[in-house]
Amino acid sequence: MSAAHADPEGLPQGHFSLPDPSLPRVLEVEGLTVDVPGRRLLDDVSFWVPKGEFVCLCGPNGAGKSTFLKTVLGLMAPTSGSIRILGKPAQKALRDVGYVPQRKTSDMTFPARSIDLIVASMRGSWPLRIREEERVRASEILRHVGGEKLLEKQIARLSGGETQRVFLARALVNKPSLVILDEPTAGVDVKGRAEFLDLLAEISASDELAAILVTHNLAAVARCAERVVYLDAGRVSAWGLPSELLGQASLSAISAVAGGDHAAHSHHHPLPDEE
């Protein structure tokens, strides 16, 4: 693998231990570049995620993390490069991707119950009536994420932690091969964050489901990540194991992004606030 080192400011640089290239790849990004007028948001980004691997995508604000997710999800067009999901062009494989957005993107005043959200994800359109088999499936997936009591609850009344539980359920309901989570615990209280982290740890333990978690939360990285991709100024500045990137010099650089909470490196410490 290519040489790895830390730059003078402590930022992780280079490729450390990379995934086994013989493993089947769920996501493969090659030379991805995204430009908007007057600005390059992503610059020649390349990495892959093998089946079942949990990847944390880290980096400072404006590093291109959200742009990367939006491009993978087909919400932004790449200038050049390719994105393949399960070997197919990303646009043809979005059914294999579950997405948990940041809490602020959805209209939580919308008159709906949790079950409506989950069934909408199953159908690809908003349900007016819910069939029995859909109810059973929604109930199963909510139970899987520990939210069985939330099925009939109005979404406007969900707490931050409950909301993300329901959104995780809707992301998983179609049995995706890859789940993408965009700072899912931002704005969630400490208890809700800790519980959600337990769920992410379960996903991380799965050998079937791959995940990309965008986070500034070092506790999440330390507990869940099987690999870390560090984006800086639109480029992959480091790609390797958490133990390599959460080393002495790199830790201070990443934790500075999370508000300087070094203590969060331990599983048992309070979780640092996300942005």
């Binding site: 979005l94 959805s106 209209d107 008159p111 409506d116 909408a120 159908r123 690809g124 359109s125 908003w126």
Partner: protein, 270 residues
Amino acid sequence: METMFDLPFMQRALIAGAVVGGLCAMIGVFVVQRGLSFIGDGLAHAAFGGIALGLLLGVSLERMTWVALPFTVMIALGIGYVLRRGSLRGDVATGVFSAISFALGVLLLGLRSNDGPQVNVETVLFGSILAISPEDLITVGVVGVATSLLLAFTWTKLAYATFDPELAALSGVKVAALDYMLLALTAVVIVVAVKTVGIALVSSFVVIPAATAKMVGRSIGRVALLAIAIGMIGSTIGLILSYHANVASGATIILTLGAVFGLGLLFKKK
């Protein structure tokens, strides 16, 4: 003994009022949920620009809809374009476009020759539902059927895109096309509704039934049904009240809807 229901002009007014009330409410469910309540008012002002343009071209006030319609739809699509570019908020975009259209309307009215048809500005501002002609009723009917069909076919996708455009797009929903369709339909319905309650009050027709239903309904389907019922019944009751009290019909309809809104506050879901 002849009652108000035997009078042809009242029959037309009652039908037009109920249809327009239901249509505005149906559109209002999405408009209000998307935080675009101001757009009803903005497009009504834009319609004034279209009406003035028609007058300048020598079209009679009765046929003005056919000039105001494309003009207002264009303005609505312009607002949609600005919104999608993400450079301005909805209220800002609506404010700018409606102010320009209204100013254009005032300017065009001043450019008319004096021997053109006389215009009662009060009629334009406050509507004339009792003056609805059989031709107007046909227009209302055609617009009503077309709008209802379009909304029925796109309902589930539109609701999904209203809840979260990104998630809807990921599920294959054509969010941009639906956004433009909703704005164009809003423009069409507003232009038709202007005839009944006028430019000044039409946005209430869009906003109040939907806002009332949203306070009570627990699903988007129920909110829509409730809003449509409130729009239709409120319009009918308001018209009957105005007939018996011999007061302005458009204002009475809106005040009736306002009273229903007050009741909604009392029964608001906990």
